[in-house]
């Protein structure tokens, strides 16, 4: 079946991350690891017992990697902190792109990024979709 010409073109990215790996990195490298990857907001939202924190941060790491798959950079990927998962008081999350990630999204005419995350025991996953204009 032909896609209607008015239908927007979408890009999708998905990634999976291990909470155990994130926990191990926190225990090995501490704040140096956390500061390199996560924003202050993300760290604040994920505060709690280490296992819970690692699971929630793993979902956010997966989200950042999913964003990279949507952006499809040809050279350097944006800094992880340029791709922030913003979580509201009800627990729902959206993406905020800044710096190089924002510039790449603009260059590729990508807008309306949307995010969904999930986790089960050790495994966390995230899916990101965006609308591509001008296609």
């Amino acid at each position: 079946m032909d896609v209607p010409r008015s239908a927007p073109r979408m890009r999708v990215g998905v990634d999976i991350a291990s909470a155990a790996d994130v926990r191990e990195s926190i225990e090995t490298f501490g704040d140096r690891y956390l500061d390199r990857i996560f924003t202050p907001h993300e760290r604040e939202v994920c505060q709690g017992p280490i296992d819970r924190m690692a699971t929630r941060l793993a979902a956010r790491f997966a989200a950042k990697e999913a964003v990279i798959k949507v952006l499809r950079p040809h050279a350097a990927a944006p800094n992880w902190r340029c791709m922030e998962v913003r979580t509201d008081s009800a627990g729902w999350s959206d993406l905020v792109l800044t710096g190089a990630a924002h510039e790449m999204a603009q260059a590729a005419e990508l807008r309306d990024f949307s995010l969904s995350m999930s986790h089960d025991h050790d495994v966390a996953t995230a899916v990101v979709v965006a609308v591509q204009e001008g296609t």
Partner: protein, 82 residues
Amino acid sequence: MSNEDKVREVLTEQGKLPGNVAELGIDDDLYQAGLTSHASVNVMLAIEDEFDIEFPDEMLKKSTFASIAAIDAAVQQIQSES
């Protein structure tokens, strides 16, 4: 211990590669060998500890950690600029 040996040691400890690091050539693709994005973060932090350096943001790209030779070259570049 040479820089290459130190990089191999870090990869063995932090790379979570399924195969034997000693059997990798210096130009072999580490991502093809099983290096994940998350493990590359650990490799980066451990390299910083091993060589007492800090990777600037502009060097935090996939190609920097694509091979033993690439990591060695990045370390040398940072050391030469400090």
